[in-house]
Subunit: 360 residues, 2 copies
């Protein structure tokens, strides 16, 4: 087992990465402060991993809540059912919530923990590659709104993150690829060596080679933990983690939550951001091709949905959290391995990307 | 104008207390960072004070949202309409939300600001005595749940609080009295001199004597600001502000939100807490009588609703935020002017209070 630490002063916490972690009751014991524990999961994950987790929690008064699986359920209404459960169980402010699932469960579980009685402890057990390398680390929690993704939420840090590589055995291929989109992101924004490693090891990752996967998870978490420690509430460098996300969120919202996986939309959005970076004169055509190739190698989509118009993109991108006073801001690449802070982009160039990239 | 400061390090902020403050655009200008402003208010307050506030905001892009008036609307559903408004207006993370109203508007507006895009700036303009002396100061925000009051929320501090004593001119008598319940609380928990002052000046307060009201507001805010600065997230002394609230919240929830005003329920609950403090051997019968008399002088109810049973109280008090692992904890008085931290109370004594106090 490897232990990384997210250095956030009084809110610092460990990320445990390894195999067989769900069978180690000590990790749970160390981070649960009271007798009351609620495990929040979804129907897909519950069938596989709820019982193994409950087995480690026999000393506690445990309740579990199984939510429907999918981004389309990441809403205030679903969140409300978590509060119903906590209150029906009369759980107090010193209860612990365990979020067992992918990014949707982690974001909602974390936000429920942030709001219940103005904040209870929570533990992230990410069960998708995407959640292990990205969404479970850093304390971004929240739900979607019909008009924008992740628009309602809180910065709220967990007690710990337990990333058990074994749970990836049951992940379907599409979810594995979606996670790789965020893994590639770390290479693009700040780690050229990792990007090259990914170019050379993508087949091993897709073949679920344990050593390769463990390295990719660790390297992603190292990068993420550095950025979060430097800028917890995204007033600066943390925004670079949103490479491709302004386009990607528009794709998710515009095509209906649940149609694209988050990582798939981010893959497409990152290719659009790369195209725009080329139009700014920073990336070469060869760079853009190299980026698109790696996403394709990871079996990810790279072309925006045909039915989404430029106007729809602009409308949806206008509600992005990085925007200032209505001006659309995006994360672009200076080179492969170096992202820039959010910049206002000339609307003529943005429109060129939206009109041209992937439109034939 | 008096300016008090809530000392919370990087989150420190001023409370402005005085007359004619809503007509001073400089206060707004100083605390609004961007062009986007949403004023959230209710239908009662809007008719009186929305236009005067909007008059000070002509340099901004202002939207306003008028919610229905009443504790029964302090819900996740109403909160959701604030997000709808912010997103429809495409407001960004640097927008400012102004909560113009009583405790319900302040709690909901503050919670909406805490959650929108994971946190935007907000300003409290409390328009009831209760909000001016208590709920607008200290950053407790949130909404109710059918199973418990203020069960969903966040600690989130405003940019400033603007307490304009002039707005109390239009407050109805019942609301004025409800505010006095929280004013009396400060005397009871930590300020015996203020308690005596209240005994001597209650008629002046009820007659809306401006000097008396201004003194009561200031003294209450001084007490509140001290406590909040010492213990922002209620891990210690802040809990004493909940004197009477464990009983009071049960009364509010049990009789249906909107039936009792919060201050009315707190008045009754504080008398119950005083009765229980006597049973613990701390207060004398004369102390309890003196407390009940002051609440009655303030034209507040002091007897629990006849239809609420002891069992219902116990059931509702079991979900209070101060509880630990299911054990009911309450704030009691050692003497008039000195509250104790939350304590587990022998259920036999609690039942005696619930069975006897106010039951004839």
């Amino acid at each position: 087992m490897k232990t990384l630490t997210v250095e956030l002063g009084a809110r610092r916490y460990p990320i445990y990465i390894g195999s067989g972690l769900l069978a180690q009751p000590d990790i749970f014991r160390q981070h649960i402060k009271s007798t009351q524990v609620l495990v929040v999961t979804n129907d897909t994950v519950a069938a596989l991993y709820l019982q193994p987790v409950l087995n480690q929690l026999q000393d506690y008064r445990v309740e579990s809540l199984i939510l429907p699986d999918g981004e389309q359920f990441k809403t205030l209404d679903t969140l409300s059912t978590v509060f119903d459960k906590l209150l029906a169980a009369k759980f107090s402010r010193n209860a612990t919530l365990i979020a067992l699932g992918g990014g949707v469960i982690g974001d909602m579980g974390g936000f429920a923990a942030a709001c219940y009685q103005r904040g209870i402890a929570f533990i992230q057990i990410p069960t998708t590659l995407l959640a292990q390398v990205d969404s479970s680390v850093g304390g971004k929690t929240g739900v979607n709104h019909p008009l924008g993704k992740n628009m309602i939420g809180a910065f709220y840090q967990p007690q710990c993150v337990i990333a058990d590589a074994d749970v990836l055995d049951t992940l379907d291929d599409r979810q594995l690829s979606a996670g790789l989109a965020e893994v590639i992101k770390y290479g693009l924004i700040r780690d050229i060596e990792f990007f090259v490693w990914l170019e050379n090891n993508m087949e091993a990752l897709l073949a679920r080679d344990k050593t390769a996967l463990a390295y990719a998870i660790e390297q992603s978490c190292v990068n993420k933990a550095h950025i979060v420690a430097e800028d917890e509430t995204e007033s600066g460098v943390r925004a670079t983690l949103n490479l491709g996300h302004t386009f990607g969120h528009a794709i998710e919202t515009g095509s209906g939550y649940g149609h694209y996986l988050h990582g798939e939309a981010v893959a497409i959005g990152t290719c659009q951001a790369a195209d725009l970076s080329r139009r700014k004169g920073w990336l070469t055509e060869a760079d853009v091709d190299r980026i698109i190739s790696l996403f394709m190698k990871a079996r990810l989509p790279v072309i925006p949905p045909a039915q989404m118009t430029t106007e729809q993109f602009l409308e949806l991108m206008a509600v992005d959290k990085k925007n200032v006073d209505g001006q659309i801001r995006v994360i672009l690449l200076k080179t492969i391995g170096a992202a820039l802070l959010p910049i206002d982009v000339e609307s003529s160039l943005l429109q060129q990307t939206l009109n041209s990239y992937g439109r034939h």
